[in-house]
């Protein structure tokens, strides 16, 4: 049966087809996971041309590894691990290593989700810690088709500007829709660290959108 991009097939079926040399299955896999892999590569090496090479190397490693895939993880996780290994090697060689220690340092005392100056002080007699400068109302207008395209571009730039560990977690969870457990496994993160990185990344991006709407008000 021919595969189209919209179809979903099980990992077991995919691997079975690949081992049999099914070209449709191969193209399906490349189209389904290629975009995510490229974005992840960019999170590691940050230079587009290098990221493209890492993705290419990953696919070539996948091809030669098909017969060794044991199915103990999902295909997606398997692909990601190959990419992560390639990207780390490459980042070291290019001396463009991002701070992988950042992944471990997620629980270090960190940034506030919202500028503390936006809240009433802790010793306020009536409403300590309540909004002094409440957020503008924009959540409903954000769904407007007219602002949509420009806003997505703003969001994309915001995502690219996040610290790498936050960018990787937000990218996997919110852009690519991975479940938390898979992100933890692929990035070797604890659940708590994964949540901290997700929280910081999302909070920053909310601030980016807030800035966008304030500028357009």
């Amino acid at each position: 049966m021919a595969l189209t991009a919209e179809m979903r097939i099980s990992d077991a079926d995919l691997i079975h087809r690949l081992r049999g040399g099914d070209e449709d299955a191969f193209v399906w896999m490349v189209n389904t996971y290629g975009g995510s892999l490229r974005r992840l590569a960019l999170a590691f090496v940050s230079v587009e041309a290098v990221a493209d090479e890492v993705v290419q190397e990953t696919w070539l490693a996948v091809i030669t590894g098909i017969s060794r895939f044991e199915g103990r993880s999902s295909v997606k996780t398997w692909l990601y691990k190959i990419l992560a290994n390639r990207a780390r090697t490459r980042a070291i060689r290019e001396k463009r290593t991002i701070a992988f220690s950042e992944l471990d340092g997620a629980t270090a005392p960190g940034e506030a989700a919202v500028d503390p100056a936006r809240f009433l002080p802790a010793d306020h007699p009536v409403n300590p810690g309540h909004w002094a400068g409440p957020p503008d109302q924009w959540s409903s207008s954000a769904e407007d088709k007219v602002v949509g395209r420009e806003m997505l571009e703003v969001l994309r730039r915001g995502l690219d500007a996040l610290p790498p560990a936050q960018r990787m977690v937000v990218s996997l969870r919110d852009v690519h829709g991975w479940p938390a457990a898979e992100v933890c496994e692929a990035l070797a993160l604890s659940e708590a660290n994964q949540r901290v990185l997700l929280h910081r990344g999302r909070s920053r991006l909310r601030g980016v959108l807030e800035g966008y709407f304030a500028g357009n008000a």
């Binding site: 991009a5 040399g21 070209e23 191969f26 193209v27 490349v30 189209n31 290629g34 975009g35 995510s36 490229r38 974005r39 290419q56 696919w59 070539l60 091809i63 030669t64 098909i66 017969s67 506030a112 989700a113 919202v114 503390p116 809240f119 409403n127 300590p128 810690g129 309540h130 909004w131 409440p134 957020p135 109302q137 924009w138 959540s139 409903s140 954000a142 769904e143 949509g148 806003m151 997505l152 969001l155 994309r156 995502l159 937000v170 919110d174 852009v175 690519h176 829709g177 938390a180 659940e191 949540r195 997700l198 929280h199 999302r202 909070s203 991006l205 909310r206 959108l209 807030e210």
Partner: protein
């Protein structure tokens, strides 16, 4: 403990536990304080909606399919592998 249960959640605390809330990992007591606070605070209600909007919009950033030249060159490599497997 009962003091903690009754203590109203401040807006500044809410914005820090909002991801735990959305992930469903906020302890029961705090989830109740969170939801009680939302009922009386339109500003935090809007903040929560903004986070939900952000998450929805982020899905729109998923990269599009690869260009055909890239796919073709990979397909070529796949064919080579296949041929080497069958000894051709």
């Amino acid at each position: 403990m009962s003091d903690h249960t009754l203590k109203e959640m401040a807006c500044q605390e809410l914005v820090e536990v909002i991801t735990d809330y959305l992930e469903g990992t906020l302890p029961e007591v705090d989830r109740m304080r969170f939801e009680a606070h939302l009922l009386g605070c339109p500003a935090c209600h809007e903040y929560l909606e903004q986070m939900r909007t952000l998450i929805r919009l982020s899905r729109g950033l998923a990269a599009r399919s690869l260009d055909t030249a890239t796919v073709d060159s990979l397909l070529h490599a796949f064919r080579d592998w296949k041929d080497s497997q069958t000894g051709m």
